[in-house]
Amino acid sequence: MKFNVNREYLSFNLLYSLMSLINICALILFPISRQYPGVQSDYSCLIVIVCLLLNLIVYTAGVNYSDKNITSIVLRNSRLIFTVLIVIIIASLSVCGSLHSFSISSIIQIQRDRFWHTLPAWNILRNPLLFLNAILFFVYTVLLLQLLNQTDRPVPFKIPHPPLKTAGTFSFRVLELWKFSFLALITFLYIFLFWGAYLSPIVFGVSGIGNITAIAWLLIKICTFLILIRLVYRSIPHLIEEQILHLTYTFIFPIQIISLVLGLILLRN
């Protein structure tokens, strides 16, 4: 029995540590300035989307190493995380479909333009369909945060105890690292697809934006996004599964499919 517990303990930690590493490595697909373009790939956006789905598989597989009594809860949670991820992925694909590119670098390049020489040509401002998808991406990131934080004790009054029974606090920290890397990946995806990545909203001269300024603008956008996420997360209770499923499959999913199709038709025309 002791040998089995140790093996499960090691497998659990290995699985989540590996996934955290994959998430962090996926961040190198995102360029942080003109001089640091990251790993260039024509399908970088698709690779990130595959990483997101891989996280879900790891989360569901992790249940095998947890307390068997809460298996059904975690499986139900996995179904919900899948639902939330589908909306996020369709929102991401709508950008790729509208701009006819899966390359993150190309998507940033397109956002360098200006609307009427003043407004930045970020995808959130490009057309109403992308604006809608940006809002949905944001809202569903909040829902994802709620689902990943299903604990018995809410912060900040007590330290939340781990939802999965583990051999000790080390596994809890591995789990938290995984959650952090997962959310970092989603944050980067959102900022790069909709908010112009490291591009400044202020008009600069012909020479463009320097490296330090670019990184600074990227950090400002990430911090603003995280603060807004935190504010919204605190202001609403956790939605139950019926609410999420009803909202998604009755309203959001059909709207997204229609917007995706319309985006492709508009692009074709």
Partner: protein, 369 residues
């Protein structure tokens, strides 16, 4: 129908330490039964009163560490006074009502804390905890002067309120009143919280009476009712109190929303009453107690005391051969625990914690060994 292995539900009370464990059996996403081991652990809460009013109650060590059992102590004292027809001066009666209303506020804010806990709503939790902390701080000021365990005595109160207490209380009430707008918005408007609470855990009027529910859990199930927080016999003539009117509805009568709404309205009513009391107390002559006379005969009787969560049933007994009066008390939460199965059966699995929170199981921790 698909039935699945039971879910082990961890339910924390408002102190974030007491954990109640429930096993929920479900099929096709509907609860078919709820199991717990509380019935084996429950005991009556015992209070012993020394008949010499200068040396009031000997505290039962496990329980009397918090102001949350203030109502039981007063229930015992009032039971004895009613039985032996003891007089209580008006000043003492006003102070007792004041402390009872503060206890009601504490109880209801603990209710909202537990609810916010259950639905993991950080902002509401923060506001509820802050409000209950304000009340606790005020009660701790009295505790420093005279232990709250020994504050109520037969015939009156042990000591006067501390200097500046009424002024502090009036300021604190204003602060709490300003914060109530958030609670009202969350319940009245079309919010995620009100959506979570509506149409779940519906208890019909007949079912409520069958389960012997009382207090807010009962009033929430009645179609329309006007009731008073404090019975008229306890109020001096100088105080006027409007009844609590349940004339605003959402969802279905008897659901979790109504149980939350009733408690919110009681909070509002309680704040108005406390505001009246603070001005009346300052104008009343200080008279702490009237020396009681208790006959030496045997006594054994049941006394019902209505307070924040409903009817507290007290069994009071005294033997003529000793000086002590023993009271065994039951909070109305015991009726809720006994009937949990019938209340939750047929409800969605995901609404289990919401329904448990709406019934307010907080007082159970004083009954459990």
């Amino acid at each position: 129908m698909n039935s699945n292995s039971p879910i082990n539900l961890h339910y924390y009370l408002c102190d974030q330490e007491t954990l109640l464990s429930f096993n929920i059996a479900y099929s096709d996403n509907k609860i078919t039964g709820i199991g717990h081991q509380l019935s084996d652990q429950i005991r009556d809460i015992q209070i012993i009163t020394d008949c010499n009013p200068k040396q009031p109650m000997i505290p039962y060590p496990d329980i009397y560490k918090s102001p949350e059992t203030l109502d039981l102590q007063l229930a015992q004292i009032m039971a004895i006074e009613a039985h032996y027809r003891c007089e209580v001066p008006e000043y003492a009666r006003l102070v007792r009502i004041l402390l009872l209303e503060m206890h009601r506020l504490l109880n209801h804010f603990n209710f909202f804390s537990t609810l916010a806990f259950a639905v993991q709503f950080p902002k509401l939790l923060e506001k509820s905890v802050v409000n209950s902390a304000i009340i606790r701080t005020l009660l701790s000021k009295i505790d420093k002067v005279q232990s709250l365990n020994k504050y109520f005595i037969i015939g009156g109160i042990a000591t006067d309120l501390p200097t500046g207490f009424i002024e502090n209380l009036a300021d604190s009430i204003q602060v709490i009143d300003k914060r109530l707008g958030y609670f009202e918005k969350q319940l009245i408007r079309k919010t995620v919280l009100s959506n979570l609470l509506e149409d779940v855990g519906i208890i019909s009027p007949v079912h409520a009476k069958t389960c012997s529910l009382s207090g807010p859990n009962l009033y929430a199930s009645l179609p329309r009712t006007d009731y008073s927080l404090v019975t008229a016999s306890l109020l001096p003539g100088s105080l006027h109190m409007e009844p609590v009117k349940t004339d605003f509805h959402k969802g279905t009568i008897g659901d979790s929303w109504h149980r939350s709404w009733i408690r919110f309205m009681e909070i509002e009513q309680s704040l108005r009453l406390i505001t009246q009391l603070t001005s009346v107390i300052l104008k009343t002559d200080i008279n702490l107690m009237v020396q009681p006379f208790l006959s030496g005969r045997d006594s054994d009787f049941i006394f019902n005391f209505n307070h924040a969560e409903g009817q507290i049933i007290s069994h009071i007994s005294k033997s003529q051969h000793n000086h002590y009066i023993t009271g065994k008390h039951q909070y109305p939460v015991l009726n809720v625990i006994e009937n949990l199965d019938s209340i939750l059966t047929g409800e969605r699995v995901s609404s289990a914690k919401i329904i448990l929170s709406s019934l307010n199981l907080n007082p159970i921790k004083y009954h459990v060994r």
